[in-house]
């Protein structure tokens, strides 16, 4: 029995030693990373960059196997770059002769975009200590203990060293299995897929702590605002003195910072704040005398024209001045909000609780306790209450902060109207252009197709009329040909009609038309629809062609096995989702088809969103605000 226990202890100690090897491995990895990353990032030798990740994944995979089979947390690997028809490889709108560079880039994108990579790095940094302690402790105890026993037995150490030596060796053997388990749990925790389940109390606290951290970050940004306010004041004074050059850069910095704050208001506080800026003006038309006019002044060079144009563009935009007043006001209002949450926590905890406790225990030099100086217990209680209030108030403070950001940084009603006009002008121009192009295509198709065939048909009929008396057999042959010509004309017209307005759409409406599309799609496609009525016809047509395009794209993407289309209506907008289970990585800016769809839907204020993370799934979401007509009474 005891023999068994000792053997198991020894085996576990060996296992632990192997895990200690992992700690050594992580030290080596760390060194390799430093060696490759510094030239990779610092010297721009980008081709070095993928190697650390390759080595890291190899190493961590070995550790995973060793630690009792930790499941792999990585996103699926992107497909190898496929050559274009001309044999070159495309990556990010550039063509490369060899697949090396696209492959490197994709690999980097894949690894850097994976949370698991960063967890691997965390493991690499922490494991030399954690893994080292857990792995080497049993062996060190056993060896150290045995060494003590040996030396005591030989007589170098007094006889009683036997006792701690034996105790250490026993402890090593006894704890080895537990330490191995602890090491594996640690490896699973950090190298395995992240655990998503969080207890409700933890989540509750987490939300508040996160809000506090964000408030702290906003406090830091308020300092940036204050600096910008000072810079703005200086630039304004300078420009009043005639030194105008100082203004544009300051305005641009302010815009950059304000843009970041708008995004944070949306992401952190859930308050959507749109960009209020007027669009940058285009170069004015050249006058007959070869000069450009900006605000009553004439300029010869383009650079100067552009410079003055930008100056007046920045100066005339009310958003510029609102941004500036915001930089001055944000440190005050935002600062007050930060004080209400983070400040309350900090002062309550440090200034009242700690100081009060120090007073109570009569520490030699207690920090000053301005309030409740004579009643430190009360200070402690108040401090706790204040700190708790600060923690509780954090989410509300964060929301209030977002609303405050919107007060000055959101577009004014006028700016909103301006932007809307701008947007409508653009979408109208796009729609008109698209329509003209479409008409031109139809004209060309009719001219070269059906029209030409009808001419041929007329000619043939004329000839037949002549031949019917003299050469009945020849006339019969020509009749067959004429019939074929008319059939071809019909086929062409049918295809043309399908492209203009598909007949199923006219006959059945959007849902059945999409069902018909799904039936003809190259991939198995399911359609789920919940539409209480019919959208207006132009919307139906635009959405139909959009779905057609999305289905065609899904068919072209490598790796998709099935496609799902859902159509529903949320009371104000029609939403169609086309999702496939392919490998993702589709670039939403690429593809003229999708761009055309975007333009077509923009005419109805519709939007197209493409989400296609590497590893999939790809999701195309079309949204068009519209009203539905009452449902059609269907016989079936």
């Amino acid at each position: 029995m005891t023999g068994d226990w000792v053997v198991r202890g020894f085996v576990a100690t060996l296992h632990a030693l192997a895990r200690g090897g992992c700690a050594v491995l992580s030290v080596l990895l760390l060194a390799a990373h430093v060696a490759l990353m510094v030239p990779g990032f610092g010297l721009g030798l980008v081709f070095l960059l993928p190697w650390p990740f390759v080595v890291m994944r190899r190493a961590t995979n070995a550790v995973r196997r060793l630690s009792g089979g930790v499941p792999l947390p990585y996103l699926p690997r992107p497909p190898a770059p496929a050559p274009e028809p001309d044999g070159r490889y495309q990556y990010n709108r550039r063509l490369y002769r060899s697949p090396f560079w696209p492959r490197q880039q994709r690999y980097l994108e894949w690894t850097l975009g994976d949370q698991a990579t960063w967890r691997d790095i965390g493991w690499m940094v922490a494991n030399p200590v954690v893994g080292g302690l857990l792995g080497f402790a049993p062996a060190a105890l056993v060896l150290g203990g045995l060494a003590a026993v040996m030396t005591a037995a030989v007589g170098f150490l007094p006889w009683w060293a036997l006792v701690p030596g034996l105790a250490a060796a026993t402890a090593g053997l006894a704890t080895a299995p537990a330490l191995v388990r602890a090491h594996d749990a640690w490896a699973r925790r950090i190298l395995g897929p992240p655990q998503t389940r969080i207890g409700s109390l933890k989540a509750w606290l987490g939300i508040r702590l996160l809000a506090l951290l964000r408030m702290l970050a906003l406090a830091g940004l308020a300092v940036v605002s204050a600096l910008l306010a000072v810079a703005s004041l200086a630039a304004l004074t300078a420009s009043c003195l005639g030194f105008v050059v100082a203004l544009p850069p300051v305005v641009r910095w302010t815009r950059a910072v304000a843009t970041v704050r708008r995004r944070l208001a949306d992401r952190w506080s859930g308050v959507r704040v749109d960009q209020p800026y007027r669009p940058e003006p285009a170069l004015p038309p050249l006058r007959p005398d070869g000069l450009y006019e900006v605000g009553g002044h004439l300029y010869r060079s383009r650079t100067w024209t552009r410079y003055h144009q930008q100056l007046s563009w920045l100066r005339r935009d009310p958003a510029t001045w609102r941004d500036m007043s915001w930089t001055a006001a944000d440190p005050i209002v935002g600062g007050a909000l930060v004080l209400g949450s983070v400040g309350a926590l900090a002062y309550g905890f440090l200034g009242l609780v700690i100081a009060g406790l120090l007073h109570i225990v009569h520490a030699p030099e207690p920090p000053g306790l301005r309030v409740f100086a004579d009643r430190p217990w009360l200070a402690v209680v108040t401090g706790v209450a204040l700190a708790v209030a600060g923690v509780l108030a954090a989410p509300a403070a964060l929301r209030a902060h977002g609303r405050w950001t919107a007060v000055l940084l959101a577009p004014t009603a006028e700016a909103r109207l301006n932007l809307r006009v701008q947007q409508l002008t653009e979408s109208r121009a796009d729609a008109t252009q698209a329509q003209a192009a479409e008409l031109r295509r139809i004209e060309r198709d009719l001219h070269d197709g059906a029209q030409a065939r009808l001419v041929a048909l007329g000619l043939a009929l004329g000839t037949i009329e002549q031949l019917v008396e003299q050469d009945p057999a020849g006339a019969r042959r020509m009749l067959v040909e004429a019939r074929q010509t008319s059939a071809k004309a019909l086929t062409e017209l049918r295809d043309l009609v399908r492209g203009i307005h598909p007949p199923v759409l006219a006959e059945r409406g959007l849902v059945d038309a999409v069902r018909a599309l799904a039936l003809d799609a190259p991939l198995p496609t399911t359609v789920t629809a919940d539409l209480p009525g019919r959208p207006p016809e132009p919307v139906e047509a635009a959405v139909y062609f959009a779905v057609n395009e999305a289905l065609a794209n899904a068919g072209k993407h490598a790796g998709a096995a099935r496609v799902a289309v859902t159509i529903d209506y949320d009371g104000s907008a029609l939403r169609v989702t086309v999702g496939d289970d392919g490998c993702g990585g589709a670039d939403p800016t690429l593809g003229s088809g999708l761009r055309g769809v975007r333009h077509r839907l923009a005419a109805f204020d519709g939007t197209v969103r493409v989400s296609s993370p590497t590893g999939g799934p790809t999701l195309v979401v079309l949204e068009v605000p519209c009203a539905l007509s009452s449902p059609r009474t269907s016989i079936s």
């Binding site: 006959e507 018909a516 039936l519 190259p522 496609t525 079936s636």
Partner: protein, 218 residues
């Protein structure tokens, strides 16, 4: 043979009437709208109806809906649907009750009067007549989808199924593919087996085979 005709374009309606009369059919009613068609089908109970999908007053699929509604009341009422375009969606709906007597053709097919009349007679006899375009679309798609039932058929069997789906008899299929009728019979038996259709009335099975063909996929 008594025919009800539904077509809203005057020229085409008169043309079809002439063509049918010339081939010995009796056109008992030639109507223009969906409601008229439904009434004519239920009152006159023709041997076969020739129906355009798109009819007034809505200019949607009135004709198709009227034909389906009439077939609900008179199961197996032979209907030949004509259209400017063919959709697998419609073909599926027409064949869904599995009773046969269904034709679905492009309007172009009237160019070849003999084949067209042949199709009407097949439909009137309870068979099917699917447009080659529907079948061609299906087969084109079939080559791209690997794991379908139909993919397990041999090339020859697919050819037979294709012609069967168009509604041809074993004799006609044999003639087209230069096979003996008994050889075609063997192929059809094998197709029925692979599609999992239990032995029953042969005509019915032919319809079911076509339906399986149209219905596979998602």
């Amino acid at each position: 043979m008594r025919v009800v005709l539904a077509e809203d374009l005057y020229l085409l309606r008169e043309g079809l009437k002439q063509l049918l009369t010339a081939h010995g059919f009796e056109v008992v009613a030639a109507v223009e709208t969906g409601p008229e068609l439904l009434r004519a089908l239920l009152d006159l109970r023709p041997d076969v109806a020739v129906v355009d999908v798109r009819l007034p007053p809505t200019q949607t699929d009135e004709g198709l809906q009227a034909a389906l509604a009439a077939r609900k009341q008179i199961p197996g009422l032979p209907v030949l649907v004509l259209s400017q375009h063919v959709e697998r969606l419609y073909a599926r709906e027409l064949l869904a009750d599995g009773t046969g007597g269904i034709g679905y053709l492009l309007k172009d097919r009237v160019f070849n009067a003999d084949q067209f009349v042949d199709a009407i007679r097949r439909v009137a006899a309870g068979g099917t007549a699917m447009d080659p375009d529907v079948i061609a679309k299906l087969l084109a798609q079939d080559e791209r989808r690997a794991e379908s039932t139909v993919a397990r058929l041999t090339v020859r069997e697919r050819e037979v199924l294709e012609l069967m789906a168009e509604g041809r008899s074993n004799a006609a299929i044999g003639q087209r593919l230069f096979l003996s009728e008994s050889a075609v019979g063997k192929h059809t038996a094998s197709i029925f087996g692979k599609l999992g259709l239990a032995p029953s009335d042969d005509d019915n099975r032919r319809v079911l085979a076509v339906l399986a063909f149209l219905d596979r996929g998602p």
